[in-house]
């Protein structure tokens, strides 16, 4: 299962998943499975999805992302989407692809801060 260039790293309680630059449908499906597996076998509560290298987003990708975020939420985790490129943001909104209320951050650094905020909010 180590195909398709998806990298899943664990940093303490945070899973950092980097999405390859031009993911095909299989990779996207694989991504969801990999995230679920990684989350299941660890104590990680936070997930950072880094899409900074992704050039294009289609409806399938958008839906899978939204689904994954919901799944992570059901498993008690919190997701932050980080590093979307400006051009991707333009096409995504113009295509009307809703990513819903997924928390976002400009980069992994900020995503980490945001994730800590969200997790601490939840603990209250």
């Amino acid at each position: 299962m180590m195909t398709s260039g998806i990298s899943v790293m664990r940093l303490g309680a945070v899973l950092l998943v980097a999405v390859p630059s031009d993911p095909d449908d299989d990779t996207i499906a694989d991504l969801q499975v990999r995230i679920m597996e990684a989350l299941n076998g660890s104590s990680a509560q936070g997930l950072i999805l880094d899409i900074s290298t992704v050039q294009t987003v289609d409806s399938y990708f958008a839906r899978t992302l939204t689904e994954t975020v919901q799944m992570v939420g059901l498993m008690g985790g919190v997701t932050v989407l980080s590093g979307m490129q400006a051009s991707v943001a333009v096409t995504t909104t113009q295509l009307g692809l809703s990513l819903g209320p997924i928390p976002t951050a400009l980069n992994v650094d900020r995503a980490m801060v945001r994730l800590q905020e969200l997790l601490s909010e939840r603990q209250i």
């Binding site: 979307m84 400006a86 051009s87 909104t93 976002t104 951050a105 400009l106 900020r110 995503a111 945001r114």
Partner: protein, 406 residues
Amino acid sequence: MAAKGKQTTEGLSWWEQASSYQRLVDSVDDYGIIMMDLDGTLRTCTPGVQALSGYTAKEVVSGNFAKFFTAELQASDYPEQALSQARDKGRFSDEAKMHRKDGTAFVSSFAIAAIPDEGGVVRGFSAIVRDVSRERGAEEDVRRSNAYARSLIEASLDPLVTISPEGKVTDVNAATEQITGLTREALVGTDFSDYFTSPQEARAGYERVFADGQVVDYPLELCNVDGSVTPVLYNAAVYRDDHGDVIGVFAAARDVTAQRLAERRIRQQSQEILELSTPVMQIWEGVVAVPLIGNLDSQRTQLFMERLLERIVETNSPIAIVDIMGVPTIDTQTAQHLVETITAVRLLGAQVILTGVQPSIAQTLVHLGVDWSGITTRSSLVSGLKVALDSLSLRVVDRETGASRS
């Protein structure tokens, strides 16, 4: 004079007998008929002569035939030549300028015939004179009006051309010669479509004229032999003969090089204005601001959106303040574009604070039914900046007192 003395059987002189013909033609008044001696001395004339020249018979009979011609012709040997030719060949006809008694000139068509006696010896001449000024004048008018029409065509600064139904050039004016760099002779008879960057479009153009009767502002590009290309707009229509049948197409091109340049310049300038009008400034670490001024159309909003997103990524700013104080009116589409921009910014991981919302704009936005929930808005840029600093956990502090200013 030998003829004078000779008597005929009736006892009438030769001249008296001959003049009996005069009665037959006396009623003809638009022809002057005269009879004269070998040396051109008038013997008789019909009333038509008076109608023509204004001279009475009394005034001209016994005078010389040459008297009818204008002074210049009298001075030359034209009258004598006319008579001698008539004597030699039996007949002479020509058109020449004559003058009337009142001094006015007219163009006459005259025929002189030699009159031989029974022995075949030429004894005198008859001459028939007609005023053809009107006909010649009409011809002259036609010639002049043709020349006038032609000169107008040639004077046209627009290249004019006529095209046959086969698509051949049938006539061109000077402007066409100039714009193509070819002479009239080289152009006439060749294919009209050969002189354009796109022969297909040129052919489609004149075919449409034959089909629809005309085309207006048909854009083509004319080639010059030197390789230069002139953008033109063609106005063309069919022209017809007397029976109303289409003979060809008359096409006038308008050189639109200057307009094209001006259009390009205007486009460039509006692009520049567009870029100038949406400056995205970083006003603090982590905060960019855009003052939007003027009406927002789709093109401008698109550019604004792209630049804002790029700047957010570039400066790594989680906060963007969009000030719409300078936007006079807003419509559904513009509002939708704004919402899109805000959504896109959010996808990047940044947040938009909309400031400078005027009462009238607020009213419109509510009436338009745009969903503004989840969008932070403030009435002024100042309060927007305060929100921005606050969410960055920053504070402006008075240096003297240490009191917070935001």
